[in-house]
């Protein structure tokens, strides 16, 4: 019995330092010392600061990661001059971008031109709300979390079309139109792939979906249909974030930079940052739905194994899975050649959409008869 007591003590101790313990005790302390209005205000300020810090950190880390991964796949060193191993390369790049003049073309629609980066950033920021970064560390656990995510993420196309249209540049407009067609097309199969997890979990709430994966992640529990929807999801989000091999919206060799050709200085930096944040968010959604979010790797009734896995903090599980998916998407870029626009739309409308519709029916049959583990 003393052995179990020791384990319990250890659990209590580790939970004190976990993010869940910190957030709940902070919440209690704020509401105990301040009046409810000010406590809510204080929480809002904390959320704002954390969100901005996360944005800055993700931008710096992911851009460096992209360049390092690209370099190692091409057997080069990548950035290695600024800081140890090129760690501060992105900081230097950001400083350079701050010092650049932000130009607005004379013939551009000035209002829309300046509004577009804001829209893209607001969409990226709002997507953070239902994402569970760790156990009990979620900004707002909305009961329609999955629907919220797909609704808000489809707004980003408005910012892109706005930027392309307002620039009064042929490259920008072409890039924006391609990007719009691509994003709306692939949204369908991404949505159907997400729905298959909703069918299995029976809930739209992110915390319920994670809780349903306590004895195994859906990717492993759901047999082949879930693996198919995972593959479709990864392909669709690669296209939705305009990543290679679906990067024909900003194909450098034909459209210079696509919809943000005319943007310079900090406005360009905001588009660039939003792109990487979007990659992070879609990978976080994929990790949450298919790989269990912050849930440690649990295998059925292997109590001992599950116990050991529980000692790894939930935030490390979440970020580990997300970074793995990001790495996968970065890997695609150096593996597949770019598609043509007709090939791109064929792939979605003639292959992915019918397959994901049939796959949804398969998943439904599995869910109804309880054939999953």
């Amino acid at each position: 019995m003393s052995h179990e007591k020791a384990i319990n003590d250890l659990k209590i101790k580790s939970s004190m330092f976990s993010l869940e313990g910190i957030t709940s005790s902070l919440h209690q302390w704020l509401y105990a010392t301040l009046s409810p209005t000010f406590a809510l205000l204080a929480e809002c300020v904390i959320v704002i600061l954390l969100a901005i810090a996360l944005f800055a950190a993700l931008g710096l880390v992911l851009v460096l990661m992209e360049r390092k991964v690209a370099a190692h796949i091409q057997i080069r060193l990548g950035p290695n001059r600024v800081g140890p191993g090129g760690m501060f390369q992105t900081v230097a790049d950001t400083l350079k971008l701050i010092m650049k003049e932000g130009l607005t073309p004379d013939k551009a629609d000035k209002f829309l031109f300046n509004l577009a980066p804001f829209i893209v950033m607001i969409v990226a920021m709002l997507l953070l709300a239902p994402i569970a970064f760790a156990k009990g560390f979620q900004i707002w656990d909305i009961n329609i979390g999955v629907l919220y995510l797909s609704a808000i993420s489809s707004l980003s196309v408005i910012g892109i079309l706005m930027a392309g249209w307002a620039s009064n540049n042929k490259y920008s407009l072409l890039g924006a139109m391609r990007s719009g067609a691509q994003i709306v097309s692939y949204e369908l199969s991404a949505g159907l792939a997400i729905l298959s997890i909703v069918v299995l979990s029976g809930s739209l709430q992110i915390s319920d979906i994670i809780a349903a994966q306590e004895n195994g992640w859906w990717l492993f529990k759901g047999h082949i249909p879930v693996i198919i929807s995972f593959v479709i999801f990864i392909i669709a989000v690669t296209a939705e974030t305009n990543r290679a091999p679906f990067d024909l919206a900003e194909a450098e060799s034909e459209l210079t930079a696509g919809f943000h050709t005319e943007y310079s200085g900090m406005r360009f930096a905001l588009f660039f940052l939003a792109e990487y944040i979007n990659i992070f968010i879609v990978c976080a959604i994929g990790a949450t739905l298919f790989l269990g979010g912050w849930m440690p790797l649990h295998i059925g009734h292997w109590e001992g194994f599950n116990h050991i896995m529980d000692y790894i903090p939930s935030s490390i599980w979440f970020f580990g899975k997300t970074i793995f998916l990001i790495f996968l998407i970065m890997w695609f870029r150096w593996t597949f050649p770019r598609l043509r626009v007709d090939q791109l739309l064929n792939l979605e409308w003639k292959y992915l959409l019918p397959i994901s519709m049939l796959n949804l029916i398969l998943v439904t049959i599995i869910a109804i008869f309880g054939w999953h583990f």
Partner: protein
């Protein structure tokens, strides 16, 4: 936190973007040059405005997207309850997807999915 968090995130996004752009504008002393305001193209002055007609294909795909996106909205509430309702829900969705699929095949036959 409740729905207030969305307002907080909105404020965070606007503050972050506006702060970045403002810092840039304060720090940078730009120079004036009429060439700077021109559209970025090949170097020669641009002819014709880009704001004119473009390929009708984009419009067709947007219409098709609308149909399937509305279908997706109908599927969300269905997906939540399908496990409780059971086999009836499966048949209902089979009928639903069958009708939709017929429409999809019709669009395919008409050549709406062909990029020209």
């Amino acid at each position: 936190m409740g729905s207030v968090s969305l307002i907080a995130l909105l404020v965070a996004a606007v503050a972050f973007s506006a702060g970045g752009i403002l810092i840039g504008q304060i720090l940078v002393k730009g120079s004036k040059n009429p060439q700077k305001g021109q559209a970025y193209e090949c170097g020669i002055p641009t002819i014709t405005s880009p704001w004119h007609q473009f390929n009708v294909g984009y419009y067709l795909f947007a219409l098709l997207f609308l149909i399937f996106d509305v279908e997706l909205i109908f599927l969300y509430p269905w997906a939540v309850v399908v496990k409780q309702v059971g086999i009836v829900a499966l048949f209902e969705i089979l009928v639903f997807i069958f009708i939709l699929f017929m429409g999809f095949l019709y669009a395919h036959k008409k050549g709406a999915l062909q990029w020209s």
